[in-house]
């Protein structure tokens, strides 16, 4: 018996054969924030053959409350999350091939990574990237596991191409104003419970126990002691552009992506979201004020102070981030607030 994984091999759902399979698989984790760092740690400890993790962000003090791979030292060194994650994951398990990328998970980048991936774990904080993952999953026939949380509320759903509905079937359009951890807060037990569901599903997929894979959509609220599990068969949409017969994978098209442009001669980035549509500036202002942000505005725009940057948001979702020329940083700030 391989001593290191002995307790996992003892579990009847895995066994020696399952452990052998886990050892030969490749997991792609998109995001190295709260969900990403937790998923990566569990799968690294489980002895997955190869793990790729991609993230565009840096470790900040406010991450430490819930992002389990990082320490105060990583904050003071301002390490990219992917780099800090890699360092810790290697110390945890030198058997696992860890590949960490400091990059934005664009369609191009993900299409280049996908070839030998067995399952993708969603650890992003916005629906736009999730829709890209969803299209990649359908196009290359790779399962992915949706996970998300805000406050004490979390959810997970395993998306198996050809078997379950996909995220585009469920949402039809991208919610422009999803709740995020930067607007609704988050406690770490919620994160861990989403991770539990995601990693259990990942292990089932890695050992190819397709019977065991959950087909229901789980959501829960740990503070209000709720847990529901929804049957999803009826959610499958024949005309879905991501998984239907006449599919076009719309989210792999550059036209449908959030565009960020550095405005010439100004220390400002413009963000133009993919699905233009009116947002309620009034509601957003009330929400941001209650969170303690400094907000000014008129019926046409809102101006929000965020540390050294200032974001101006228009009714159609377009925004200007003043105080930076860094496209990726600007997009991060934008999606923190607008989801």
């Amino acid at each position: 018996m391989n001593e290191r994984y002995s307790r996992q091999i003892l579990f009847s759902g895995i066994g020696r054969e399952g452990q052998e399979k886990i050892r030969n698989k490749h997991v792609l984790i998109i995001g190295a924030g709260a969900l990403g760092s937790g998923n990566a740690e569990i799968l690294t400890r489980a002895g997955v053959g190869k793990i790729t993790i991609i993230d565009r962000d840096y470790v900040e003090l406010s991450n430490l409350q819930r992002q389990q791979l990082y320490t105060e030292e990583d904050v003071s060194e301002k390490l990219p999350k992917a780099a800090a994650a890699e360092k810790r994951l290697r110390a945890i398990n030198s058997d696992v091939e860890i590949r960490a990328l400091v990059d934005d998970a664009t369609p191009e980048v993900l299409e280049e990574l996908i070839s030998d991936v067995d399952v993708m774990i969603d650890a992003t904080d916005n629906f736009e990237t999730r829709m890209v993952i969803n299209d990649i999953s359908q196009k290359y026939n790779v399962p992915w596991i949706y996970g998300a949380c805000v406050g004490s509320f979390g959810m997970s759903f395993s998306i198996i191409p050809g078997k379950t509905p996909c995220l585009n079937c469920l949402l039809r359009t991208i919610p422009l104003q999803g709740m995020t951890c930067d607007t609704g807060g988050i406690i770490s037990p919620t994160v861990q419970m989403v991770i539990s569901h995601q990693t259990a599903e990942a292990l089932k997929i890695l050992v190819e126990d397709w019977e065991a894979v959950r087909t229901s959509f789980v959501s829960f609220d740990l503070w209000r002691n709720q847990y529901t599990s929804l049957k999803m068969g009826k959610a499958k949409f024949a005309g879905c552009l991501s998984c239907g017969e006449d599919r076009t994978y719309p989210y792999l098209d550059r036209e449908n992506m959030t565009k960020s442009t550095v405005l010439c001669g100004r220390d400002t980035v413009q963000i133009r979201p993919s699905n233009l549509g009116k947002i309620s500036l009034e509601r957003l202002a009330t929400q941001l004020l209650s969170l303690g942000y400094k907000v000014k505005g008129n019926p046409y725009l809102l101006s929000v102070e965020m540390g050294s940057e200032r974001m101006v948001i228009f009714q159609d979702g377009r925004a200007l981030i003043h105080g930076t020329k860094d496209l990726i940083h600007a997009k991060t700030i934008y999606q923190r607030i607008l989801g």
Binding site: G31, G33, A34, L35, G36, D122, A123, T124, D125, N126, F127, R130, G147, A148, C149, V150, G151, F153, G154, M155, P165, L170, L171, T173, P175, Q177, G178, M179, T180, C181, G184, I186, V194, F217, S219, D221, R224, Q226, T228, S229, L230, K231, M232, G233, K234, A235, S280, R283, G339
Partner: protein, 77 residues
């Protein structure tokens, strides 16, 4: 009569987890509109609906006794 359950920030908007109303004969879409107006619920067009723990589309018709749940997909992570 029908039980209607609200999750996450919808619950905060409504002020309670559960209400009882008569929604039988209405479509999910009609119920969403009605509740949006009554409770000022945000962005109901992107909220997932379940009838008796099973996903339901906007044009599904609610029967007497059905339990409805509204679950907003969230984007945090």
């Amino acid at each position: 009569m029908n039980k209607v359950l609200f999750f996450a920030h919808l619950r905060d908007a409504v002020g309670k987890e559960l209400i009882e109303i008569n929604a039988s004969g209405k479509t999910v879409g009609e119920l969403k509109e009605e509740l949006t107006e009554k409770y000022h619920l945000p962005r109901m067009e992107t909220v997932m609906t379940a009838i008796n723990e099973e996903f339901a589309s906007n044009d599904e018709v609610i029967q007497d006794g059905d339990e409805i749940a509204f679950i907003p997909p969230v984007s945090g992570g």
